[in-house]
Symmetry: D2
Subunit: 351 residues, 4 copies
């Protein structure tokens, strides 16, 4: 893969000849996402009553939710809106100085950026929002209120007993470019799906797990799913059982199963607006400086499901639109390479 | 053990020379227990709010509770009373004719018996109550209302997710006599704790599990614990975590751990009145007609805890008093043999 | 369903006017199956090395295997043969007298029967083999050698940690007839899949579990699968992980998942000859004399998979041929009703 | 606690007046430990055959072991020696420059340091060994060979299915000094046990988990235990079951149970030489720059066992001696404060 995928360099996507590459903000981790939902009461029933997310703050138009281990204000902001979409993906950065760095870094790439005052998003300090080169609205924040520590309040746990946000999975038409840009942002690469000519998907991290963000090739930019961490596999099974109990089994899109990539035990659910989330367990440590990349062949039927099951087509085709800084849906570009879903385990590409 | 323990024969405890031995009632299984508690609200908080038992019926003075798999009316009756005690242990029998057989069988042994009309215990038909030769009040019933089937209502499950009553564990001063009597009642023997001279404990069954009733040597008659079945070990762990969350960890008397006897994964809890219950998982099938007995040496430290941990003294010493047919506490006789708790793994008896 | 399905009566399938109906053998439980495999070494690798079955006895042409809880000689006999097929399904009966009853009972129905001497099947006493009215070769035995008790040899456990055989699942063209015949044999009914006119599937038991045998409508007689019990869901997940590790994920046909019917957590695997087995956990107690039947609508998408996933077509279409008393494959009759697989959740029958 | 515990400053333990404080090496994580054992074959049986550690390399006098997730050469070096002792605790540092920094940093504190050539410890590059101010021999390394990735070789997993080393737990007579020194080394503080006057124990981290090292007050320096991470609680239970199966239950010193501190589900085992290890699951993310400290009162009975069980005395009293750079056992100093084990939950100190 060293051939087809250019080695990442800071400033890779900046205009040629710009010396020196700018210092990116020091991203700590994927921290929260903002989703627009068409019915806040229905979203509340799904995310809070069924999945068991903790409500940190509730306003007329928004719900701020977190997992049981989370020690910052929230992992998810649900806002009432006219259409279902992803408003922003938020990374925590190390310090306020990193907010300045973010503004300069993205500005130098020609990206629109916007300072948001403290409190625009409840519980966090001032943020910098950017429209990134991939088309996603990304929010950076450096400080957050600490809510009540609930990790050992087993008496309160319900649903999937989600611990915290783990990662964003994004659909992009050009995975190598997404990989290069996030490399320049300082993200490490843990796993890939590829063949001799194409990088189909990439998993990248800042915190010491398999990923904070992953890229899947397809029409984009779109949000494929939000991944939330749970501690043990039986919590995943339990979540499915609860949905079956209530005849809501149609919310279960795919799994439970074991991923080849990441080795996680997972299930994919769809919320009432079709937003997809993953309940994700297992994972592994990636904090060593020479952490080796695990490269999966696109022909290995175990890459997406270690138990060999076919992936349901909607999982490859559906994703949430993303909004720009003004709240307008970002146009979607078609993928410029053979989509992974069409590559057979029998060794040829269907397209 | 064939030496010290007389082979069971029907009518064993009846007067010598009475031919032929009377036919015992056809016991189906241990079905429910009646416990008197000194505060019904506190008992409700423990059994319902924390442990997650389902309330089938509630009256001013009583709570009728069941597990999530149970398809008869209840597994536990909690009644308000002046002192904490066990009112009755109830076995389901196969038919109404078995109620008659119970009356005759126990009457012939000189035991007091009493017909209770349908509805005396909510949800069951007419019953026969007896003061059995071991000093316990035992209730037989042949029919029960079927409550709503909740097994697949995972959305309702809480606490230990108890499925059903599994067994009664009784403290008796004379384990061989208890064994002989229950053999005459048609119970099979699955496991024992013994040495060359003494039977310290016995596990006996009618349904196809390790036991419906077990006998432990000690001052009795007293109720050692009620065993409730749960499907998986993580439910046991969860129950303990919930109690710890609420600083109610003092309710956890012993375990979680693995039993040598029965191979079950267990925890013992004490309710606000000190009544002991076990959350009990695993178990095994005993329905074959020649099911072999598993005999544990009293010197095997794994018999009570397969992981070798010492048993807390209260577990051997404490138990609930039992009431007679008139609701008067049965006097307790001291054990007539070395108690198991004093037999060291080092091969000598401390007493 | 009381309409379309005739109430079971003893001797239902005997010639009209035969008074009184014959007493059926007292079946204790489904105990073992005999499968013919085309390569004993490959079968050994699958069943023993991967799935972790215990070898009780091995001969030149046969392997006798059991689960870790099993206290009779075997749960599965694998025999080398020219074609993959099911040789016999074996039920344990209560006593030798039940062998005689089996011979008379089936003989009176016009079925061929054959006495097999002790040792024909290793580890069991003399048996009676019959070609039953449904076309299956059924073996009855009354006594078995007790192998070493391995339940607490956790050091030896591997693979799926199978405890024992749980049930046979049979494909028959006429489910109501199969149900009626097994009712006459004394089997209880625990669950069904049906609509107002058709009984699509039935689960029937002698031991106190959901089933010893189940009937699924389709071209038959054929063996759909053997169900083996494991204690906890994580053993099912582990088995799949092991198969994925070895790139044998194609052995995983369906699941893991939760059944609506039986509430079991399951996975279906296929052995090297295509014989299907289920690793089956959870289950519930059915020993009460008035155990209520749970009737699932064929339109409920949760009946086969509580989490709503479509059933892979091979699961409905494929099954193992069965051999007659002479080892000749039994001809297969087409199903005489709409197959369940063609009934959509949208409320109409595709056929 | 801000009162009694001095705020950490780099160079805290260096000679007063030395400006500026020296830059400590950039520690990545606790990586491996070196234990001397009196019988390598017996140690092999325990660590490899029973616990299931993977052998990376084996020499005449040493075994190099790792967990299934580990991507560096080893997590544990077992060396044959005349007495059971801890030879060294090894931290990975970010780069070779950090080896130099370690040498200068410890040298400036008056500590003996020694360069070890690549290969002295198999699989790692050159290291710096130091006798740290607390009396432990600590080894720093910057590079390691990558062994075969076994994380998804579920077919090979055995025993406790240990994933990787998680932490060192050290007994020191002066916990505040240990805390201060490791703060100067750049470690964060996640949890403590304390009261208004005393810091009894501290958990400190570099990687984004609860700890890489913890300090418990007592006669020291001694190694209390090595903590190894496993993914799910059932692996902990399984390990205990295996030991019970083989009548090795005396290896199980404490647990399984839930820690209050760290929230981990744990068990403590002792190897044939008495070295203690913990199988440790659950844990939580600590990577945020303002990660809040969780401070447990020494009077909270849940701090050491969330389920309230008393801690067995040997767990407080026993620990492994540590060797200096020349392989001589470091003398042990008595604790200079009330030991935690003597502080009752009833609110007074027993000493």
């Amino acid at each position: 893969m060293t051939g087809p995928i250019p080695a990442p360099r800071a400033g890779d996507l900046s205009r040629a000849g710009d010396p020196p590459p700018l210092e990116p903000p020091d991203v700590v981790r994927a921290a929260y996402a903002e989703l627009f939902v068409t019915s806040l009461p229905e979203a509340r029933r799904f995310w809070v009553d069924l999945l068991g997310f903790v409500v940190t703050t509730e306003t007329t138009n928004a719900l701020y939710l977190r997992g049981y281990d989370e020690l910052t204000h929230h992992n998810l902001v649900l806002r009432a809106g006219p259409v279902a979409a992803c408003g922003a993906l938020a990374y925590r950065v190390r310090s306020d100085a990193d907010l300045d760095r973010a503004e300069v870094f993205y500005g130098a790439l020609g990206c629109r950026t916007r300072r948001m005052p403290a409190g625009h998003t409840a519980g966090v300090g001032g943020t910098v929002r950017v429209e990134d080169p991939l088309g996603f609205t990304v929010e950076f924040f450096a400080s957050s209120a600490h809510p009540q520590r609930l990790q050992q309040r087993y008496d309160l746990r319900r649903g999937a007993e989600v611990a915290r946000l783990d990662h964003f999975n994004l659909v992009v038409p050009d995975v190598p470019s997404a990989y290069s840009f996030y490399s320049a942002l300082g993200f490490g690469l843990s796993e890939t799906i590829e063949d001799s000519t194409t990088l189909y998907a990439a998993w990248m991290y800042r915190k010491q797990t398999v990923h904070d963000v992953a890229f899947t090739g397809g029409a984009g930019p779109r949000l494929h799913h939000l991944g939330f961490f749970a501690h043990e596999a039986h919590s995943v099974l339990r979540m499915c059982d609860i949905l079956g109990s209530l005849s809501l089994e149609s919310c279960i899109e795919r799994g439970p199963g074991r991923h080849g990539v990441s080795n996680a035990f997972y299930v994919y659910l769809r919320d009432p607006d079709g937003h997809r989330l993953e309940i994700y367990t297992s994972d592994y440590y990636t904090g060593d400086p020479d952490h080796p990349v695990l490269r999966w062949s696109v022909r290995d039927p175990r890459r997406r499901d270690f138990w060999g099951h076919a992936v349901i087509p909607s999982w490859y085709s559906d994703a949430s639109p993303v909004l720009d800084l003004d709240g307008v849906a970002h146009p979607v570009s078609e993928i410029g390479q053979p989509p992974e879903a069409t590559v057979g385990a029998d060794g040829f590409t269907a397209l």
